[in-house]
Symmetry: C2
Subunit: 261 residues, 2 copies
């Protein structure tokens, strides 16, 4: 499994991904799922992947034309004029790769080779943009109503994103929010694991503001993880207990379900 989040804030965008890949619970490895290219002063583009590792690695290799001699390679990500075209090209290569593998394996392989991606970036003269690319190669773009995307194991970490996100938040708070969301996911799903990759990009800077790997034992992540447990319990205890024994809001008690014997 995998967990990746891409998030737009007023100041730019932030991305975080885990690094665990697994084929069964007895075969786990560490692979980065975050890739970043930049042409300082002109553009920065980052891509995160979830799904079949052979598929996603093939897409990255195709984007960079690694099937050619180094001297003959061009990188579409650094040449396409708009982020929309970047997303479309990544989607096209993803669909092509999934289909090739599926066709070569017949119907029984259907679905096993799929992947999805989050692409974020900014090209000079345009706004930062964030896309979610489906295995079919089509994609959607984040907007003011839905300013972040998740791929992989999205559910455990979603409630805190829904409540904590604020587009005016700074990078320090955005990274904190992502770490809380990742911590909730890590605790619940063994197939999402440390280390984590973090990338922050400030708008109009076209190079990483901050880029690092959060390793096992990272003091900030450890502090957030344990601090969040304590703060969450404090929050829980600050709410009033259920007023029981009590009647419901209509002053009745109910026998739901089937009648009593």
């Amino acid at each position: 499994m995998t967990y990746c989040v891409g998030m737009v804030i007023d100041d730019g965008f932030v991305m975080m991904s885990d690094t665990r890949t697994n084929s069964g619970v007895d075969n786990i490895s560490v692979f980065s799922k975050m890739f970043r290219w930049s042409n300082p002063g002109e553009r920065i583009i980052a891509l995160m992947t979830a799904g079949n590792l052979a598929t996603t690695q093939a897409v990255i290799s195709k984007l960079e034309q690694r099937d050619r001699e180094p001297a003959g390679r061009r990188n579409a990500l650094l040449e396409l004029p708009t982020m929309f075209q970047v997303a479309a090209e990544a989607g096209r290569l993803l669909r092509e790769t999934v289909r090739e593998t599926q066709d070569g394996n017949g119907q029984q392989g259907k679905g096993r080779f799929t992947a999805s991606m989050i692409v974020g970036g900014q090209i000079a003269g345009m706004e930062p943009r964030l896309f979610l690319i489906y295995p079919e190669g089509n994609f959607i773009e984040a907007n003011i109503d839905t300013p972040f995307f998740q791929i992989g194991e999205t559910k455990y970490g979603r409630p805190i994103l829904l409540r904590g996100y604020d587009r005016t938040m700074g990078f320090a708070d955005a990274a904190k929010l992502l770490m809380v969301s990742f911590d909730s996911t890590l605790r619940a799903n063994l197939s999402v694991g440390l280390p984590l990759d973090l990338l922050m990009v400030r708008r109009d800077e076209y190079e990483p503001l901050h880029e690092c790997r959060i390793e096992h034992g990272d003091p900030y992540f450890t502090a957030v993880s344990s601090g969040w447990s304590g703060a969450l319990l404090d929050a829980f205890h600050s709410l009033p207990g259920y007023p029981f024994p009590a009647e419901d809001s209509k002053g009745n008690t109910h026998n739901f379900g089937i009648p009593k014997q």
Copy 2:
């Protein structure tokens, strides 16, 4: 979809279920998914269901022998000597019902008719017990390490259960914890919906301590929902922001993924 949680605490057990059923997002209905039988002074048994509604209703009807004339009916749940046998009988009827429908619909129907159940209860002279029954009819029992079970849309509401649960908590806190967990789920998945059914059973009492339906606009649920948002944000802001720009724990910055261009 569905969300149900059954939880054992030192004082007894608590169950909560939503009531939304859906066949597509354009066909939703309200059905109770919680059923309760008691023989006051001797036993109380409650059962919650998730999955195919025709399957779960059939299992309940079979448990009550509704295929017979009322005078000839016996209720196995009120007669079997142990909770283990109650769980086994419910599991047997679930497996039988799933198989009958699958066999009648060929392979293409496989998986569509499945369901799972949580059964909790206490019979005089024995401890309260809680079981999770799989579609295959086998089951597991809660223990001191895993004292609660979820069925249906389990992920959104799981992080707070993992952090908030404490077996020494009273019924008022247990109901509060369940409401927070349900609120997180309701916000993220449209197919889980109000009203909610709540049942509390104190050990050795063999009848409900409290049993009610939480309707839309219930003042306590509304207070928990809005209070939790505020408390969660306070908790979030109480944690230190990510110390950026910063080096990582090893004093390095990383270029992860593929090399820079």
